[in-house]
Symmetry: C2
């Protein structure tokens, strides 16, 4: 259920950037800000009083994986727990023809054998500061959306730069409540992150695509890393203690984590666009990739290894989008959204002070229309769907860095702002392996996609293909480029525009060829998103004034707190229990004659006798989560770790659009199951001792 932001942004249309809005509340709903927690709800429903100390401890124990996902500190010695499928990006990149850590797992008892990830950056949120006034002051009422966007970007870049200079911390200005608020998030950044333990993918993702987003489940979707400072395990003040009992039925639990995006306050125009255009298009792109990756994988074990994480990500996104589309094609969901919208409009009409907000819906419809007209081109040439190649991304980053860095900070494309350069360089100079044959397959596939989407007579397409077929062109680009060499990347990055031009690299030349068109369409999309944001902010202000509730903004891959109860549910008259056990895992494998994707790894077959089969394995809760929450710790009242989120059930896929707790559930690995497996299947006694506090700090 991961949303791998970097990769997906290459794959899927993020034309509708995540909209942050004020949402009204029902039941255990909410992805709450840490500086605006649901104190009232928790007190009323669960008689729990949230203290500031509790919040700070949980906040600083939470970890964001910039490769896409969440995690938490689980020992004083820098141990971090997340999902196997969140760690997959690092596992894939550390693997080679002889070592398939992603498939086969990894385990070491010796600190000096822990393996450093090539380009994994972890962020820990240290402080939140409201900078709304300064950001809003930059935007004058008479500005056009385009001017407003540039002014806001400039103000944001300055605030971030000042903060970095002052604190040395990674500093991101985050848009919340749709421009109603802008918060400055300061993160402690960890870039020396080492792999400690991973199980086999076959048990981490037991049941494969058929069981993904389903429940009951039997997955050990965990992975452990350790953050280092100055070559030694970092000393961590805030980390989560382990709960021996783990999650119990009906227990109140909390989920601190980083939900990716939600669309709960989309207007009907935006929902209809999502249903009629965005999701069908995204699905057709994903299926094209899935078929291509599956065909490539089936040719040999080594191909399968190279493509494994891409294929997982694509299948995962495809199944999630299928579920989202099915939700939007359900007339009852759309009827409810429509009735909610009409109710709000009626209330606004009934008042005098927010009448201008009524026009905001039309503005959104209009902006959405313009976005719709440009989204395909944007996805193809700016978001990278037409050039699905790591080498192309590197080439473009080199090209643009040379253009952007000489500009004043406030005028740069957002990703080249001073405050973020360190993180950008960390990615750009990654030593991750890039495979030429795989690059050719992906590039030929995406060039074919480009030409079928824009038409082969399109002038830009013709220049891109340069009189060759997509296959020929991909082959010549991949074999001709030199940017696979990290030393050369550093040289060109440092050398700037003249060095980049002198390189005469065909992949950089391709990036240059499309750059004017790519920047132009990006400007349109960014401007229209600004127009939508301003309109949404108007609606939100009216809603806030009328409904008077304190709410949470739509998800934005920033730290949030969700809560809920451990709880089963009813499905077609059948009661689905809140938890599964190891016994259930072996039964399921038996029913399927231990055949893929229901086969057990050899370790689990050999060690079955050692295990207490009654140990809880997975469980469900009502916590309000979504993609990006993968790897979030599940904690109890005492902030002890009782489990780890790794999925939502099939009913949870509509949570993008509205919250429901009738059948929608978050799915977690149980803390008891983790320790039992570590000790009995993997002989990982040291790790289990470190988690449960039985091992003294190093």
């Amino acid at each position: 259920m991961k949303r791998n932001w970097r990769k997906l942004s290459l794959i899927i249309c993020l034309t509708v950037l995540s909209l942050t809005l004020l949402v009204s509340i029902h039941a255990d709903e909410g992805m709450w800000l840490f500086n605006n927690p649901p104190r009232k709800q928790l007190k009323e429903k669960y008689r729990f009083e949230v203290t500031n100390e509790w919040l700070e401890h949980v906040q600083k124990s939470s970890v964001r994986f910039n490769s896409g996902g969440s995690g938490s500190f689980v020992s004083r010695d820098g141990l971090v727990m997340s999902n196997h499928h969140v760690g997959a990006d690092c596992l894939q990149k550390l693997s080679d023809e002889q070592h398939d850590y992603y498939r086969d797992g990894f385990h070491t008892r010796a600190l000096d054998e822990e393996k450093r990830c090539h380009d994994l950056e972890l962020n820990v949120l240290m402080s939140i500061e409201d900078v709304s006034e300064r950001v809003n002051a930059a935007v004058k009422p008479d500005m056009s959306p385009e001017q407003a966007f540039l002014a806001r970007r400039a103000a944001t870049a300055e605030i971030e730069k000042e903060s970095v200079d002052k604190t040395g911390l990674r500093s991101d200005v985050v848009t919340l409540y749709q421009g109603g608020q802008y918060h400055l998030y300061r993160f402690k950044k960890h870039t020396d992150v080492r792999l400690v333990f991973a199980p086999e993918q076959q048990i981490a993702f037991y049941g494969g695509d058929p069981d993904n987003f389903e429940y009951p489940r039997y997955d050990l979707d965990i992975c452990f890393f350790r953050v280092y400072e100055n070559g030694k395990p970092a000393k961590i003040e805030h980390y989560l203690k382990w709960s021996k009992a783990g999650a119990g039925d009906a227990e109140l639990i909390f989920v601190p984590g980083h939900p990716g995006w939600t669309s709960r306050l989309f207007t009907m125009a935006e929902l209809e666009y999502t249903r009629d255009v965005r999701l069908p298009y995204a699905l057709s792109r994903l299926r094209d990739l899935e078929v291509t990756l599956a065909a490539y994988s089936s040719r040999s074990d080594e191909n399968a290894r190279k493509a494994k994480e891409d294929l997982f990500s694509v299948q995962n996104a495809r199944k999630a989008y299928d579920g989202e589309l099915a939700g939007l094609l359900d007339p009852s969901l759309m009827a409810q959204k429509k009735s909610d919208e009409q109710a709000l409009r009626s209330k606004i009409i009934a008042r005098d002070d927010f009448k201008d907000a009524l026009g905001a819906w039309d503005q959104i419809t209009q902006a959405q229309k313009l976005i719709g007209e440009n989204a395909r081109l944007y996805n193809l040439i700016e978001a990278g769907q037409g050039f699905n190649s790591e080498l192309f991304q590197v080439a473009r980053t080199l090209l643009r860095a040379a253009e952007e860095k000489p500009k004043p900070n406030r005028e740069r494309l957002r990703e080249f702002g001073e405050a973020g350069l360190e993180s950008l360089e960390f990615q750009l100079f990654s030593e991750e392996p890039i495979y030429e044959d795989f690059e050719q397959v992906k590039l030929a596939n995406s060039l074919t996609w480009l030409v079928t989407q824009l038409g082969s007579t399109n002038e830009l397409v013709q220049r891109v293909l340069a009189g060759k077929s997509p296959r020929e062109r991909a082959s010549e680009l991949v074999s001709g480029t030199k940017v696979n060499d990290v030393a050369l990347r550093k040289k060109l990055y440092k050398g700037g525009a003249s060095a980049v031009e002198a390189a005469m690299d065909p992949m950089i030349d391709l990036a240059r060829l499309i750059d004017a068109a790519a920047r132009a369409v990006r400007k349109i999309i960014e401007t229209q998103n600004e127009a939508k944001q301003q309109a949404h902010a108007q609606i939100s202000r009216a809603r806030f004034a009328i409904e008077g509730t304190s709410g949470y903004p739509d998800a934005t891959f920033t730290l949030r707190l969700a809560y809920g109860a451990v709880k089963g549910y009813d499905e077609d008259g059948k009661q689905i229990p809140f938890q599964t056990t190891f016994a259930g895992l072996y039964e399921r494998a038996g029913e399927h004659h231990n055949k893929p994707p229901f086969d057990l790894p050899p370790s689990w077959i050999e060690r079955k006798r050692r295990l207490d089969l009654n140990t809880p394995f997975n469980f469900v809760s009502t916590a309000d989560i979504i993609g990006g929450n993968s790897g979030s710790p599940v904690i109890n009242l005492n902030a002890e770790l009782v489990g780890i989120i790794f999925d939502g059930n099939i009913h949870s896929l509509v949570l993008d659009f509205l919250f429901t707790e009738e059948k929608a559930r978050a799915v977690s690995v149980h803390s008891q199951g983790i320790v039992e497996a570590l000790r009995k299947v993997y002989d990982a006694r040291d790790l289990a001792d470190e988690l449960t506090g039985k091992r003294p700090g190093t």
Copy 2:
């Protein structure tokens, strides 16, 4: 490489009905008519004189599989050989939860254990009669394309009906040379067809999707049936004798068979439409189906069994179309087609007597444009893409039969003409198993496709969905309909319109709901195809007069004769030998650690020691073949069987558009490999003896 016509017509847009044209000749090119064989070419290049006796014998030894594919008689006792993947339709339908003949194979030595296929009809071409004059006389010069289409359909229906009444043979008027000629093909029809032998799918389709359309290959893609008459094996006069030596290097060979369709004389406008619209759209539909079928299959062995043949067909078509699209995206191919077209136009301009043909290109462009505007709707509601369900097809056939049968024969939709009713009823009353869960998955998927293609606000879509989501609607339709009951089908078919209406069946009601719109869009497509045909006929007449060559028409799933040489080829500087051996099979399995799709069936592992590993297994030749030729016998000068076609290599996928023998090759199983496998792996001594003439007739 099969083209399963019935199924594909449900799956893929056949908006451009196969165009039959006069093609000019190079090298071993040609899919020749049996009444216009390449006598001259064979004599000049191979010094072989084709006799009428040879032709008649080969023609009557050839068998058409109406489920899609080719075959031949190989014994006097009605034994028919084809590909495993052509027999797959029957194998799939004969299987159940306890017996998976498609996956595991089938073999019996006892006649009374041969298993009758539910709805397999085989056709043997008995005679060809030129009826052009009568068909053309029906079309008057001043008729509109719509009138012309109806007049031609009426004439055709009458000729077919008369022929059936007179001869009792299945009688089809076939359009050739695009209305330049119409031939009446009379077939002996076999509907009591029994399964005799099939190997495991894993050896028939060894290497799976990765090796499909590739070479070198190692596939035993064979299947044996026996036709019965009056409960006894039919006595067959014309059958192919077995060649002990089989195909040898550089040997002249012939391939009688049923190529499905080619597009070699498409105008540039048609080729561009194929490249820019038809293939991209068809591929996106196929990938949607492939992902859905793969996901369904992976849930359980039983699901995999139910979906196996559908999944194979879809993957096969997807890979073929991928190759065709890659061909059309190759500028050198398009440049050649363009230069050919311009050369012909120049020659026409240089003469006085065919000037009017120049306008034909514009007429085709115009008709193609109208087809393009209506193709999507046609594919969705008439060709069945929006309703991918066996039960829907049954329901619609019942509905339309009740409407069409009371009409005069000449006014009916083509498939309800008197001459074809027996075959239609044979299909309609098939006892093939239809699985409700699988139907629901396919119907929900295709309804979702319908709504995303036409938009959820489309009025017809809203009526189809009746206020429900696609999943809900599919579920209610499949569980509500009664047409799975063959006895009920017979009752409704016999009872006519009043019985069909009184049935109040929800699936029939759905068919009725869309029928007016479906018939309307079908009329547009048929009319524009008629317009294209008339224009193509003009061009063909000019070409024929100018180039003065005797040629062959584009493929139309009618019996054709191809010829060529057994011959390897050069690939990236590497010489690919003309044949493979059993030894190569075991090497390939070893390289892939015997893992799917490169695993060997247990029988082949156990019996390896018995086999002569030097036996030829597969071989390639330059014969001009395409989808539909699967199962065609490969014969030598003496009309002895030296092999059986089962695939083309990746370079052959452009043969749809132009012939090339540089690298394009037809791939066959070698006759020696067949007999060796039958005797040593399967202990099928009786069958091998029957093939090789060692067993006396029964």
